[in-house]
């Protein structure tokens, strides 16, 4: 018995003997103690939290090699395996976690929309509920600074660049013909329906080396990876009908959308200033198929088909009977992308996009048939060396084949060109600390048509000056081949280019964002020709140049007024260019010096309604008055438009939506057209080009049928 007692006691004291103390201090990179960090030996119950001096000390009965772990919120976890005797008086330095919301972001030139971004300028719903945007995501982006209002065009004009200088990508694959064609002086709409996308990145300059062939801007759209549920959506609108259906299976899903738009009834009720022989009629269908592989791989196939048909006569000062313009367009777009995570922190993204676009145009007595076949192939790899250091590189190939068949009474001709470009890029993201980060990249592009290689370096830096504010800088060189309108006649060109310099300040606090960005852009090698229009017989060269400089201000406040969100944008733009057939350097007619917009949204609980207002202002654009001489020296009237919308939730799944653009009916002027011949007084007569219609009404009824009785199409509006 005594032996037993002895043994027990010995065992007990042995236990006591084997206990050792782990102690030390946890500090951050600046040497400041971290309080409340969790310090423990992995796989044991032994551990503690640091005190307010960052000190810790605990006992353990384990021996030999153990792993000591230290973790604290917004720091990267620390772990060290060693003999426990070495864990005495140890100093542990924790690194800042650079993936937190308060870490610096490299963002010069860029706006993010969607819920996946750290700072969102536009929320997902904003894309579709902005008054005046009429469900076109481009319309919502036009309320951000850096864009110019060109009401008669509808496309994105960024920082003194024309619409062709902006490229649009879906899941990093190029969209070749993103806008539906329209007649002169009628704004075109984006072809892509906004509700297929969950995140939008809009860069107004200085963007990543991953994107090229865009002089001014890129718009990156990410499609939804996994729809939430099966549903059917029905839309009945004053301008047409829509039907959508989503099916889900265990690993895959399919969404289909079809729409039929016919403006004939609307135009009968509210005639505009065009003589329509065939009002705009369009049929479109989109399908997205997604498949998730076992190993996290995700395949997305997006296909869209649309056909647009219209015929009208538009007034023209030089033609008594006006100009007859008819168009039949059909467009097929397929985008396939695959993403996967590989071993050792590698990931791969690859894809193919293809577009076939055919337009039959009747322009007075001439018949023009344009066919464009384009494809984009891409493969990119990413390696995460750590959360502080990432490498991204890849290669891509763009193929474009364009043919035009021109026929009129006296003249017949065919034009064709192939514009194939091979590019590759490499880019690295480095976080020096939570406060200082950089993105450095380089892109090479070889054009088979122009037979030249262009190298474009890109660099961005960001520094977090305080807990709410940061400064960013960006620099980059950008190349773009001349547009199809010139390439079909001539290929002895060099790529047009710009250099961007951007300085950005951003302040984000508690649902408020202030952002100011100054930029300077230098254009070189712009295409020039020597005739009133680009013709097969013109002589072409690359001697054009230009600049754009300005300041963009953005303020968004979701806090100060209850149930109300608003944002304000102001852009100042000073730009001149000598290109096309300009006799001298001048401000182009699509650029306005001052652009401002205010968007306001209010949710009225008692009415179950959202009311939205938006106001757009653009100072007068330049035009040439032959009676006064000079080139683009005159200024037209400024543009003003107040738009309103109202969404009423009849029940969770039924929505009534009303929208009116230009409520006040402001008589806006899009420009002037002067007669080519002087009248008997020796003066040139002019015609004021006004919008086809001052106001536009839209009424729609949207009904969702799903198992989840709360889902609705609010996000589609």
């Amino acid at each position: 018995m005594k032996t037993l007692l002895f043994l027990l006691l010995t065992f007990c004291s042995y236990n006591l003997f084997a206990q050792s103390t782990i102690s030390g201090k946890v500090i951050d990179q600046q040497g400041i103690p971290i309080m409340g960090a969790n310090v423990y030996l992995n796989g044991t119950y032994d551990g503690t939290a640091t005190n307010d001096e960052g000190l810790f000390s605990f006992e353990t009965t384990t021996a030999g090699t153990q792993t000591l772990i230290a973790s604290s919120i917004s720091f990267e976890p620390y772990s060290k395996s060693a003999d426990i005797t070495s864990f005495k008086g140890i100093t542990i330095k924790l690194k800042d976690d650079v993936n937190t919301l308060d870490a610096v972001t490299v963002n010069a030139g860029t706006f993010n929309a969607g819920d996946n971004a750290k700072v969102t300028a536009l929320k997902p719903l904003d894309i579709v509920t902005t008054a005046g945007a009429l469900g076109d995501f481009v319309g919502a982006l036009q309320t951000l600074p850096g864009t110019s209002n060109v009401a008669e065009d509808g496309r994105l004009f960024v920082r003194g660049g024309d619409a062709e200088e902006t490229q649009i990508f879906v899941d990093d694959m190029r969209v070749f013909t993103p806008y539906s064609p329209s007649a002169n002086n009628i704004p075109s709409r984006g072809r892509l329906s906004p509700f297929l996308f969950k995140g939008i990145t809009f860069s107004t300059g200085g963007y990543s080396a991953e994107y090229g062939q865009a002089l001014s801007s890129v718009l990156l759209l990410n499609s939804i990876s996994e729809p939430q549920e099966e549903k059917t959506e029905i839309s009945i609108m004053t301008v047409g009908l829509g039907l959508g259906n989503t099916q889900k299976w265990k690993k895959s899903s399919l969404s289909l959308n079809t729409s039929y738009i016919n403006l004939a009834p609307y135009q009968n009720l509210y005639p505009d200033n065009n003589e329509w022989h065939k009002p705009i009629e369009s049929i479109g269908g989109e399908a997205v198929y997604r498949y998730k592989f076992n190993n996290d791989g995700l395949l997305k196939v997006y296909g869209a088909y649309s056909s647009v048909n219209f015929d009208l006569t538009q007034e023209d000062i030089n033609e008594v009977d006006g100009i007859r313009f008819g168009l039949k367009n059909r467009n097929l777009y397929i985008n396939t992308s695959y993403q996967d995570f590989l071993e050792k922190d590698w990931s791969i993204a690859t894809g193919v996009s293809f577009a076939n676009d055919r337009s039959e145009i009747k322009y007075n007595n001439s018949d023009i048939t344009d066919v464009e076949n384009s494809a984009h192939l891409k493969i990119a790899f990413k390696k995460f060396f750590s959360s502080r250091y990432k490498l991204n590189f890849g290669a891509e190939y763009f193929i474009t084949n364009f043919t035009e068949d021109y026929q009129d009474v006296i003249f017949e001709n065919d034009f064709e060109f192939d514009n194939n470009i091979f590019s590759s890029f490499v880019e690295t993201d480095i976080f020096f600390s939570k406060k200082f980060a950089t993105k450095i990249g380089i892109r090479g592009e070889y054009s088979e048509l122009l037979q030249e290689l262009n190298i474009s370096p890109r660099l961005s830096l960001a520094y977090k000056a305080g807990s709410n504010s940061q400064f960013s800088l960006a620099y980059g060189e950008f190349f773009q081949n001349p547009k199809n309108d010139y390439l079909k006649y001539n290929s002895d060109f060099t790529a047009e280019n710009t250099t961007h310099y951007i300085a950005n300040y951003q302040y984000v606090k508690n649902k408020q964002i202030f952002r100011a960005e100054a930029y300077y852009k230098n254009y070189g090698d712009l295409v020039k020709y020597d005739t009133p229009f680009a013709l097969p017989t013109s002589s072409y060269n690359n001697s054009g140049s230009g600049f754009a400089k300005g300041l963009d201000i953005f303020w968004r406040d979701n806090k100060s007024i209850k149930n109300t969100e608003y944002w304000m944008s102001y852009s100042y733009l000073d730009t001149e260019r000598d290109y096309q057939n300009y006799p001298t350097s001048a401000t182009p007619d699509f650029a306005s010096k001052h652009n401002a917009s205010l968007v306001l949204k209010r949710w009225i609980e008692d009415w179950k309604s959202q009311v939205g207002l938006s106001y757009n202002y653009a100072s007068g654009r330049s035009y040439t008055d032959p009676n006064k001489g000079g080139f683009l020296t005159e200024q037209a009237k400024s543009f003003n438009s107040l738009n309103a919308n109202y969404a009423y939730l009849i029940s969770p799944q039924k929505i009534l939506y009303l929208s009116v653009s230009n409520v006040l009916g402001t008589k806006n002027v899009n420009g002037y057209q002067y007669a080519s011949q002087a009248n008997i007084d020796g003066m040139f007569d002019r015609r004021t080009i006004t919008p086809a219609t001052d106001r536009f009404f839209f009424i729609g009824f949207f009904w969702t049928i799903s198992d989840n009785k709360d889902d609705n199409q609010l996000d589609n509006l």
Partner: protein, 212 residues
């Protein structure tokens, strides 16, 4: 005397052994949580999780406390840091215990924390996700009172938002209370709680739907 000493020693050793380190740790962690020492409780659950690699409960509780303590926060950076950590804990737990309805509804609670912070920013994507989570959880565990209560509370919130009557959902709350009372509590430290909350909602129901 000797035998007494012997018995005493035995009892002493037995009582020491009666509480396994797991039980000791869990009890201590729950005590910390009860004292509102959330950070300490989370840290202890995290340490237990590191030792008990095939038990989902410690990770589950670490995540749950992180989520609950993030409601009402004003700082978005802190909110996302906490909820990202919480998601990490829940991910750990669901690797150990797949298709576990308790873990699934905690993901829904995590989404709700985001939505409560900024409905316009997070509501559109996350509310649909929540509906899908509750649906799936209910398919797996139709008689789990917490799943039923969570789903019902969510539906009530939506009904209130659209100005609809919450009366039809009150019946579900009563059904949840019955399920709570029927539930056999066999697994130690299993999150059986929720009856109090159900009673609370039930009494609100009676207030709101009573004629005056």
């Amino acid at each position: 005397m000797k035998s007494l000493l012997l018995i005493a020693t035995f009892i002493f050793t037995f009582s020491l052994n009666a509480q396994t380190p797991y039980e000791k740790g869990m009890n201590e962690a729950f005590a910390l949580w009860e004292q509102q020492k959330n950070t300490e409780a989370i840290q202890l659950f995290e340490r237990i999780a590191a030792a008990e690699t095939d038990n989902w409960l410690p990770s589950y509780y670490a995540g749950l406390i992180e989520i609950i303590s993030s409601f009402g926060l004003k700082d978005e950076a802190l909110l996302t840091s906490k909820l990202t950590r919480a998601k990490g804990f829940l991910d750990n737990a669901s690797v150990i215990s797949q298709d576990n309805p308790e873990i699934m509804i905690s993901y829904a609670l995590l989404n709700t924390a985001y939505i409560a912070f900024d409905g316009a920013k997070y509501g559109m994507t996350l509310s649909g996700e929540n509906v899908a989570i509750y649906q799936k959880a209910q398919d797996i565990a139709p008689n789990n009172p917490r799943v039923l209560l969570g789903k019902t509370e969510w539906d009530m919130g939506t009904a209130k938002f659209f100005g609809k009557s919450i009366a039809p959902y009150c019946e579900d709350v009563e059904r949840a209370i019955i399920l709570f009372n029927k539930e056999e509590q066999t697994i130690p430290y299993y999150p059986y709680s929720g009856l109090e909350r159900a009673n609370e909602i039930s009494s609100n129901c009676k207030k709101e739907t009573s004629p005056n």
